[in-house]
């Protein structure tokens, strides 16, 4: 098992004929992802690395059958339409790779996804990868790297930073600890699947025995993970690192934000809340594999 995606998931790529679309189609295909179709309006009839291209998601579904997940590579300004199109065609998981998607577009996508009973990862995400099964997005860059860097096993990874998703996963693999699924939740302040939502999926995944989380200052994601643990909704061993300790805290102009969040979002608040509920917060990323190994050994 894995979360979000496995080797059987039927995958569509929107924006498949663009620069990123072409490059990442190759990665996903080579890695073994079950890519059935691609969409670029006006480019129907072409193919990219053997993947047939259609003009619309609906047309793709008519030709290849129901789709489980769509990976979106269209320009930021076109993301909302592409996402709504996929949701309307019954796709239940979207991976929205582009950066710079306007917030209100993300809110509209979130509302539509909720209505459709669907999930989305991103925007501004490298995607996710279940070792040996499938990759959605661009983690690893090339299939042979992804195979070399990420070994299958019992550790889940959830990260706010794309590069650090790969780095944490690579250091765990190098230490002999394999991975169930690694997820870059996305770098934006509003994302479809934030840390707590990913933790709930890891909780239900029998293969995942422990989780490593790369957090960052800003948003309430890490504090909400602590809330989940407090309410016994996440019970697996968790090792966390919070980035941004040295970052100069920005001038806070929003009183409304302060009224709503209080001190949530700061480095201190995140570390304190996570430690309160028993999470192992480490001071250096390099300490993550050792801690995870210790927890897994203790578990047995």
């Amino acid at each position: 098992m894995a979360i979000f995606v496995d080797e059987k998931s039927k995958v569509l790529i929107q924006g498949i004929t663009g620069r990123e679309g072409i490059a990442r189609t190759r990665l996903m295909k080579d890695y073994g992802t079950n890519v059935l179709a691609g969409v670029t309006p006006g480019r129907g009839g072409q193919d990219v690395y053997g993947v047939p291209v259609y003009d619309a998601v609906e047309e793709a579904v008519e030709n290849v059958g129901p789709i489980d997940a769509s990976v979106i590579f269209v320009p930021a300004a076109a993301v909302k339409n592409a996402a709504l199109e996929a949701l309307a065609a019954g796709v239940k998981l979207l991976v929205i790779v582009p950066d710079r998607v306007p917030i209100y577009d993300v809110l509209d996508i979130a509302a539509a996804a909720k209505d459709a009973g669907a999930r989305f990862v991103g925007p501004n995400t490298l995607g996710l990868l279940s070792p040996g099964k499938a990759v959605l997005g661009m983690i690893g860059g090339r299939a042979e790297r992804a195979r070399e860097w990420f070994q299958p096993g019992p550790v889940g990874v959830s990260s706010r930073s794309g590069g650090m998703t790969s780095a944490v996963a690579y250091y765990l693999s190098r230490a002999g600890l394999g991975l169930s699924t690694i997820v870059h939740v996305g770098g934006d302040s509003i994302v479809g699947s934030s840390h707590p939502e990913v933790m709930e999926l890891f909780e239900r995944d029998p293969e995942t025995k422990a989780v490593a989380m790369f957090g960052e200052i800003g948003t309430t994601q890490e504090e909400r993970v602590a809330d989940l643990i407090e309410h016994k909704k996440f019970t697996k061993p968790l090792v966390a690192f919070i980035g941004g300790k040295a970052a100069k805290s920005g001038t806070r102009f929003s009183h409304a934000g302060a009224i709503v969040d209080g001190n949530r979002g700061s480095y201190e608040s995140k570390v304190r809340r996570l430690r309160e509920v028993g999470v192992h917060v480490v001071e250096a990323v390099a300490d993550i594999p050792g801690r995870v190994a210790g927890l897994l050994a203790g578990k047995k």
């Binding site: 710079r100 917030i103 209100y104 509302a111 790969s166 780095a167 302040s189 309430t220 009183h255």
Partner: protein
């Protein structure tokens, strides 16, 4: 975050049908006087700068007559407040206030929806007031599918303890505020105080609105120069860098100058990160080594080589650098040879004389490091490439050693190199630049290795064996030429230096020329 000034925010409120005090913005004492004359009553003058607590800084003044308004404006304009110089004052009717409220809309990252916050007490110290009187503060998520509906707004105001004649106008105002926030793509908006005057009017006495950076392109009318958060006006170099980013959306390029002043003994370095998380981690490592960082720069999201090149040129436009440090997460998914080629072109043009440690770990790192070591051996200073198994701490330590070996030599700002190919050269436009090939030199080329080097095989040999485009020129300009720089680098180091890719950075030539004049 693209913050708007109070006067700009109030224009948006007025356009959205939300009542604001009468007045206008002035950038000279004479204008202030004219506005006061037109209003024909006592006025308030408010400095337009991005700081809080303006009253306490003397930035809010009252005037009973137009002449007094002119005098007060003269004193306020040009005043230095924190990092800003006052360029405008807002001149408005002076209000007789009876009650103060608070209204704001922020983003709720848990609910993934806008959140309305309304308080029936407002004014200075609203956070403290809200803590003391939680019963007066009402929050409500806004459904983006419907907007804030009238009855929902009414219930918000009612639950804050308000009844009577203010109830309906306040509810109406909140409904309009939600629509304004949506139309302006506001990441946050707040009115504090929202006031009721003694004559019963309800007005937004102040307003802060922050436009979502990513939606600024939808709002050319707002005239936002740099859609990023600064606690000071952007520097000239930051403006130059931002123009690069604005014109090229392949990958991201973020550039922020950090060191205002450096001493000769400082270990000042140019910092070139990749990816937010990895950059932060790397910055911690260099700061722990005692380095001083001239800038924070991040090129990530699979940028083309041309963007990394421009970033390096911008970084190397800063005086006083003793080293160059590049480091990201260490396990990047992007093809690292693009970063390597961008750095090679920049460093070769600059004839870099300060050491550089480049931690380019990740996808294709072996090729990236090979490119660096193949082409940057002949520079005056050492350039070393490292990969995913070399932690940032080790790389920072290595840079310190190299700087010591280089006796702390300081980077010299060079004039921007001009293309040196003849006018008759074969040439075509790329997405952000122009590629030229001097075919007369190609006659001496044995290998035609540029054709092999071209990443996307858009070059071919013509009937005479000279390299030309294999695709229509329009396609190359649209981005089929990815500006990978491989052909130029091959030709530069292995053949006849017949290829030049001009990648303009508007303003940088003038910037460097001025800096050089000032340093003399």
């Amino acid at each position: 975050m693209a913050r708007l000034y109070e006067y700009q925010s109030k224009i948006l409120l007025r356009e959205g049908g939300l009542p604001v005090p009468e007045g206008a913005v002035a950038s000279s004492p004479a204008e202030a006087r004219a506005i006061a004359e037109r209003l024909g009553r006592p006025v308030v003058l408010k400095i337009q700068v991005w700081v809080t607590g303006r009253a306490g800084l003397g930035g809010i003044q009252f005037a009973d007559t137009p002449a007094e308004a002119e005098t007060k404006a003269a004193a306020l304009l040009g005043m230095k407040v924190k990092n800003y110089v006052v360029e405008r004052v807002l001149v408005e009717e002076k209000l007789a206030i009876e009650a103060e409220y608070f209204a704001g809309i922020v983003m709720d990252d848990e609910a993934k929806a806008p959140l309305l916050v309304f308080s029936s007490v407002g004014g200075t110290g609203i956070e403290e007031i809200a803590r003391r009187r939680p019963d007066r503060v009402v929050r409500r998520l806004i459904d983006v599918r419907t907007g804030l509906r009238g009855f929902e707004a009414l219930n918000v105001v009612r639950k804050s303890g308000i009844s009577g004649p203010a109830l309906v106008p306040l509810s109406d105002l909140l409904t309009k505020l939600a629509a304004i926030a949506r139309n302006a793509d506001a990441r946050s908006v707040e009115i504090n105080p929202l006031v009721r005057t003694v004559d019963g009017r309800i007005l937004a006495a102040d307003c802060h609105l922050v436009v979502d950076d990513y939606a600024v392109y939808r709002h050319p009318e707002l005239g936002i120069e740099i859609a990023r958060e600064f606690d000071r006006p952007p520097t000239e170099l930051e403006r130059i860098a931002y123009k690069v980013e604005e014109k090229d959306h392949r990958g991201t390029f973020y550039f922020l100058q950090m060191a205002d002043q450096s001493e000769p003994d400082d270990l000042l370095i140019g910092f070139h990160g990749a990816g937010g998380g990895g950059s932060m981690m790397s910055m911690d490592a260099v700061l722990a080594r005692g380095f001083k960082i001239a800038d924070y720069c991040d090129t990530s999201g699979n940028p083309p080589a041309s963007k990394v090149y421009r970033a390096a040129k911008v970084i190397l436009s800063q005086p006083g650098l003793k080293g160059y440090f590049s480091s990201g997460s260490g396990v990047a998914s992007q093809e690292q040879y693009n970063s390597a080629r961008g750095l090679v072109k920049a460093f070769a043009e600059e004839r870099l004389a300060i050491p550089a440690v480049l931690r380019l770990g990740g996808n294709c790192e072996e090729e990236a490091i090979r490119i660096l070591s193949a082409y940057l051996q002949d520079l005056p200073a050492r350039v070393e490439g490292y990969g995913r198994d070399d932690p940032p701490e080790k790389c920072a330590a290595r840079l310190a050693e190299l700087i010591a070996e280089n006796r702390g030599a300081v980077h010299e700002i060079r004039p921007m190199e001009e293309p040196r190919l003849p006018d008759c050269a074969y040439t075509f436009a790329t997405l952000t630049g122009r590629l030229s090939i001097d075919h007369s030199r190609c006659l001496h080329c044995a290998s035609k290795g540029c054709l092999e080097a071209c990443g996307w095989k858009i070059l071919e040999a013509d009937a005479e064996g000279l390299p030309v485009l294999a695709i229509p020129e329009a396609e190359a300009k649209k981005g089929k030429c990815t500006e990978c720089l491989a052909c130029e680098i091959f030709c530069r180091f292995h053949e006849q230096q017949a290829i030049h890719i001009e990648l303009p950075i508007p303003g940088l030539k003038e910037y460097r020329d001025r800096l050089r004049r000032e340093m003399k």
